[in-house]
Amino acid sequence: MAPDVFDRETLLDLSVNVIPLFIILFFVGVFAVLPQFGYSLVPTLIQMALLIVPFVGLAILTYYSGKAIATSEAELEARERAVAGASAVEGSEETGELSEDEDAQPIEGTETDGDEESTASNE
């Protein structure tokens, strides 16, 4: 499921939250490697927890919100495709009906095309 949902576009959108995640991770590394005030069990544990808990919280929320939005987007697209498909089928039927009455159509069609072109050029 996940690889389908998290396509390139979605991952790009989610990158906005990767930046604060990276900043937090950066400070975890800095405080672990360069402890300016030394190590001490409880304060260091709290120090790291204060960074890791928001990190995990943000990562989880980003994952689930990204998944929810991407899934909903796929649903919308599927719905739009279904509507477009249905109208295309209706359109083909109409074309079929029109083609039965070909004699009158070509001239009108040509005129219409010509009008559209002239309108476009005016714009």
């Binding site: 906005v16 604060p20 400070f27 405080f31 929320l61 919100s65 939005i69 909903s72």
Partner: protein, 624 residues
């Protein structure tokens, strides 16, 4: 302590006087009364067939549409989300007036270094200082809890159901109860000023212990109780919004096309759900400390710093509770006058959620100078710096939305641009404060006051005005006077920047906050400069007040006399920016019963009518 001592012995004495049989009779009587009330209510109304009214459609019952009661009864009994939104709005404006008057008195006092005005009003220097402290406390609590949160609730109640295609809120009656808890809350909070014999609380809005635990007077107790009520109200509202946005969305609305304002309200509601109950608990603990001899925050046996941790664990998310929905309003309104869709819509959504989570991890940056372990302090600094990123992302998105756009400088658009401008100043000064070394220098100075006022007034209030102007045609059916609106904008913009930039400079001059006088020795600090800056801040405050009077006059007068609008007052119908709320507004106008008569041509704000006039001229020329 004295109060509890007086009250507690009275309870058993009263019980002994009544006697067991008397108590039993009272209990039975009360039970009968409650049953009678319940029966009367069930007879008066069928609770299961709620019909949202005035929407021009059918509700869940689907059979018929009843008209709302007339007059005051309508407003006292309404469960319609739009009516409740209006009530929230009215309530917030009343609070805004009180909070504004309080600060004008304070700024008047600060015009001169010594205690002059308030001393004369209260009768003596000490009484003047006490009054200043009371006004300071009331201003903060009123603006944050009685204006900020309710005005956002006004927008969300009115527009979220319309924007998501819901009939009403998920729990309309809880919605009404949540509002009706607020007026008693306000009365309790303000009681110290208006009830003879009570003194206003002098705790500041942060209510730091041991000051707040030991301060004598019933006014503080009532204020804490009132605050608790408003917290309960906000929590009920938040639960309602979460339920509404999750379960009541229309068929065509899902997470991918949910509007940005509803996203911010959803995030805000999540924050309220986790933050406000904690405030409620802390307030109860404070009340117990004050009245029942507990020692949660006592210097001996308890911890005053515990209060700060509990308070700021609520208090910092509260900042985002107040700022996220206004950001949503700006994200919603700005594109409509930029001629472009919001740039990076999903960036804004994800950064909103990021702010929501991270806001719970930064609370102790308000406490850098309390002597907490430097390792722990460093972690709070790191997360505080990280949370600046999502806010900056939003700012860049707003700017990019306007970039190369077809801008229309209507009143709502001007307020959106003002919001961005002020938010940048407020935000950048906040990033500096997030750095421990700078915070230790600037802590408790006017720099902090200037910083957060750039956010609460410069950003939040500006976005609120943007929303009020943008949706004015919907909730009044009329258009405001655009010249007055522009006067309002410019006076608010100039007043805000004059007042709060002066405060930033006062902070650099080490002027401490929360003082009613500053008649210090000129050898310690440049007194003349400080006085000049205070005078500039006071002048700015009066310019601000002038602007708000213009706004109030404009809104009230236009409500009665403004030209009636059609379903598309902003000329957006033919674009993809025509919102669901205006579609609803148009449907309402189409289904409304006409009363005959012609209306004048509607003049929309900001260039639309001019454009229309230009187009008409162009058409005439092309015809020729």
């Amino acid at each position: 302590m004295e109060i509890s001592g007086a009250l507690l012995p009275a309870i058993p004495a009263q019980g002994a006087g009544v006697g067991t049989s008397g108590q039993l009779a009272l209990t039975v009587l009360m039970g009968v009364f409650l049953v009678a009330v319940f029966l009367a209510l069930t007879r008066a109304e069928d609770w299961r067939t709620y019909t949202p009214l005035a929407g021009g459609g059918y509700g869940e019952s689907g059979h018929h549409v009843r008209h709302k009661p007339e007059g005051i009864t309508r407003w006292l009994t309404t469960v319609d989300h739009k009516d409740i939104g209006m009530l929230y709005g009215l309530y917030a404006i009343v609070a805004f007036v009180w909070g504004g008057l309080a600060v004008l008195l304070m700024r008047t006092e600060l015009f001169t270094p010594s205690m002059d005005v308030l001393g004369a009003v209260a009768g003596g220097t000490n009484a003047g200082n006490a009054l200043y402290n009371g006004l300071l406390t009331s201003h903060g609590i009123t603006m944050l809890f009685l204006f900020g949160t309710p005005i956002i609730a006004a927008f969300s109640n009115y527009f979220v159901p319309l924007l998501i295609g819901a009939d009403d809120m998920a729990f309309p009656r809880i919605n009404a109860i949540a509002f009706w808890l607020l007026p008693p809350g306000a009365l309790l909070i303000w009681a110290g000023f208006f009830v003879p014999g009570l003194a206003p609380a002098q705790t500041s809005w942060t209510m730091y212990t041991p000051l707040s635990a030991e301060q004598a007077g019933f006014g503080a107790d009532l204020m804490i109780l009132g605050l608790h009520l408003t917290g309960v109200s906000a929590t009920m509202g938040a639960i309602n919004f979460i339920a509404t946005i999750f379960t009541e969305r229309g068929k065509n609305v899902n997470w991918a096309n949910l509007d940005i304002f509803s996203w911010t309200i959803l995030t805000q509601s999540g924050l309220i759900l986790f933050a406000f109950p904690l405030l409620g608990s802390a307030l109860i603990m404070l009340l117990l400390d004050r009245n029942f001899g507990t020692a949660f925050f006592a210097v001996d046996g308890g911890s005053p710093i515990l209060w700060q941790h509990l308070f700021w664990f609520f208090g910092h998310p509260e900042v985002y509770i107040l700022v996220l929905p206004p950001m949503g309003i700006v994200s919603y309104v700005l594109p409509r006058f930029s001629g472009r869709k919001l740039f990076g819509f999903k960036f804004v959504v994800y950064s909103t959620l990021a702010i929501g989570v991270l806001s719970f991890g930064v609370w102790a940056h308000h406490m850098f100078s309390t002597g907490i372990d430097p390792r722990i302090r460093a972690s709070f600094m790191a997360v505080s710096l990280a949370i600046a990123i999502p806010s900056a992302v939003k700012t860049f998105n707003w700017i990019t939305t306007m970039w190369n756009g077809k801008l229309r400088l209507t009143a709502p658009m001007l307020f959106c641009i003002g919001f961005i401008s002020n938010f940048i100043i407020g935000g950048v000064t906040g990033v500096f404060l997030a750095a421990i070394p700078i915070d230790l220098v600037l802590h408790d100075t006017y720099y902090v006051v200037g910083h957060f006022h750039y956010i609460v007034m410069g950003a939040i209030a500006f976005a609120v005005f943007a929303g009020l102007y943008y949706w004015y045609p919907i909730f009044t059916g009329r258009m405001y006077q655009r010249s007055l609106a522009k006067w309002h904008f410019w006076s608010t913009m100039i007043g805000t920047n004059l007042t709060f930039f002066a405060m930033l400079l006062l902070g650099y001059n080490e002027m401490p906050r929360r003082y009613s006088t500053y008649a210090f020795n000129a050898d310690w600090a440049p007194l003349q400069t400080v006085e000049l800056l205070h005078q500039a801040a006071t002048l700015g405050a009066f310019i601000l007040a002038f602007g708000q009077i213009i706004w109030l006059v404009n809104f009230v007068q236009s409500w009665y006399e403004g030209p009636e609008v059609d379903g598309d007052p902003w000329g957006l119908r033919d674009t993809s920016l025509y919102g669901r709320e205006f579609e609803w507004h148009e449907r309402r106008l189409q289904t409304a019963v006409t009363d005959g008569g012609e209306e004048d041509e509607v003049a929309t704000d900001g260039g639309v009518d001019e454009t229309a006039a230009e187009e008409a001229v162009a058409d005439e020329q092309s015809d020729e």
